[in-house]
């Protein structure tokens, strides 16, 4: 399977990439890790006349800590995240999530920015980003703007990223020490998308939840924030009744598409189970 013909561009700076994108207009696609785009091109679901490869722009790569935030270049790979000591120590939810994505070879190529920008509800980074309250820097020909992860994902393959913008940076507030985290993902096999997955980040005071974020993967047209489930847990301990209530509320916003991974009822039930497990694991890791 060979992709249709296209012209290839390999800019060396963000500015060069943005102006190429502006000049080529709707005929161009950005190439990040390529593990979603190239398969789509092989199948003729995408037939861009131009590919702009972001892989040769050093400023788009790297992880650094800056003023209480982790600042990650959009072309940083999932393998970079998994192997980063600063990610593991400061934002372990991100390392845990990255480790569940695809397989080793795909993680060497797949990027955090590509994962976010593709807008596929099966991708894992959107829910992780929502749970972590991340912000995205979108760079256009005239200006940069920063948008919150919660609200960025508009629908199937649709995000706030405008056609002339490039996601250049991901900014994640470093969670307070003692936060608990978990990403629980049910998949049929390595390399498959989630049947259902849940990201949780929480803080406890004594035995009670004082702050919690819950986000769901692959049970709707986008990653979903389970706001009602979060609210129901505030001020309560993690026990059988609060877990059952949170799982029920998370399931109530699920609208999965039936496919080979299961029918809607099964996927919704698995989302409830992943939510329950993620909350339990996060609470067990939290220190008040």
């Amino acid at each position: 399977m060979i992709p249709p013909s296209f012209d290839y561009h390999a800019p060396r700076s963000i500015g060069e990439a943005v102006s190429l994108l502006a000049n080529l207009g709707g005929e161009a696609k950005l190439l990040a890790g390529g593990h979603s785009l190239l398969p789509l091109m092989k199948l003729r679901f995408a037939q861009p006349a131009h590919l702009i490869d972001l892989g040769r722009i050093p400023d788009l790569r790297g992880i650094r800590e800056e003023g209480g935030e982790l600042v990650i270049g959009a072309m940083t790979t999932q393998a970079d995240l998994l192997g980063s000591s600063v990610v593991r120590s400061k934002v372990p939810l991100l390392a845990e999530g990255a480790g569940t994505i695809a397989d080793p070879q795909v993680r060497y190529k797949g990027t955090i920015g590509g994962d976010i920008s593709h807008g596929d509800p099966g991708n894992d980074q959107p829910a992780l980003m929502i749970a972590l309250d991340a912000a995205f820097v979108l760079t256009g020909p005239k200006a940069k703007r920063t948008v919150k992860a919660d609200g960025h994902f508009l629908g199937l393959y649709s995000t706030q990223l405008a056609p002339d913008e490039i996601l250049t940076q991901i900014r994640i507030p470093i969670p307070p020490a003692g936060s608990g985290w978990s990403y629980q993902k049910l998949k049929r096999k390595t390399g498959d998308f989630a049947t259902a997955a849940t990201a949780v980040l929480l803080q406890m005071k004594g035995t009670n939840v004082v702050k919690v974020a819950i986000a769901l993967t692959n049970v709707g047209p986008t990653a979903l924030r389970a706001k009602a489930a979060e609210d129901a847990l505030l001020g309560r301990p993690i026990n059988e009744s609060s877990l059952a209530e949170a799982a029920r509320l998370a399931m109530s916003i699920c609208a999965p598409t039936a496919d080979q991974r299961g029918d809607a009822e099964y996927k919704t039930a698995m989302c409830g189970e992943m939510t329950r497990r993620a909350l339990q694991a996060a609470a067990a890791r939290a220190k008040s």
Partner: protein
């Protein structure tokens, strides 16, 4: 037809240059232009891992990478594992532990296991299984592949020059 691109890279330590259309996938350049048929075409959809090669210190599926993305890269295929006619410790261990039956997945398994041991010279069984989870084998049930990687890791620990 799209504009052709000159692409130069190192293949198993030797400089090579090819002229390709941007849409040409690395697996085809390796197999059809450069006669390196070790990397196999299995699924062609980045699932099976038979086309795995090492590129700039990363294991990649060469069916899902464009040759133009490899300008200046250092590429290693299974053909580059042996040294002066002596099999690499991993190749020898796959032979001794019977880590293959039909052999179709083997070049990908070997190049992937090579990078795994570079990054983690003493992996646990679980780390080997996780590290090789992007490579499918339909014959062995993986047991002897895991044994072979463990055996190679032990051998390399005592003779690191062979790494």
């Amino acid at each position: 037809m799209a504009k052709m691109h000159q692409v130069s890279f190192k293949l198993n330590g030797k400089s090579v240059a090819v002229e390709v259309e941007p849409r040409e996938l690395l697996i085809y350049t390796l197999r059809e232009r450069l006669a390196h048929t070790g990397p196999h075409i299995g699924c062609e959809t980045s699932h099976c891992g038979a086309c795995t090669v090492d590129c700039n210190g990363m294991s990649i599926k060469s069916c899902t990478v464009l040759t133009v993305q490899c300008e200046g890269a250092e590429v290693l295929t299974v053909e580059g594992l042996e040294r002066a006619g002596v099999l690499h410790a991993l190749q020898q261990a796959f032979h001794e532990e019977h880590g293959l039956q039909c052999g179709y997945c083997t070049p990908g398994m070997l190049t992937r296991a090579y990078r795994l041991l570079q990054e983690n010279p003493n992996p646990s069984e679980q780390e080997i299984r996780y590290g090789l989870s992007g490579n499918l084998c339909r014959c062995t049930g993986y047991q002897n592949i895991v044994k072979a990687v463990q055996s190679a890791a032990r051998k390399l620990a005592t003779t690191p020059a062979a790494a």
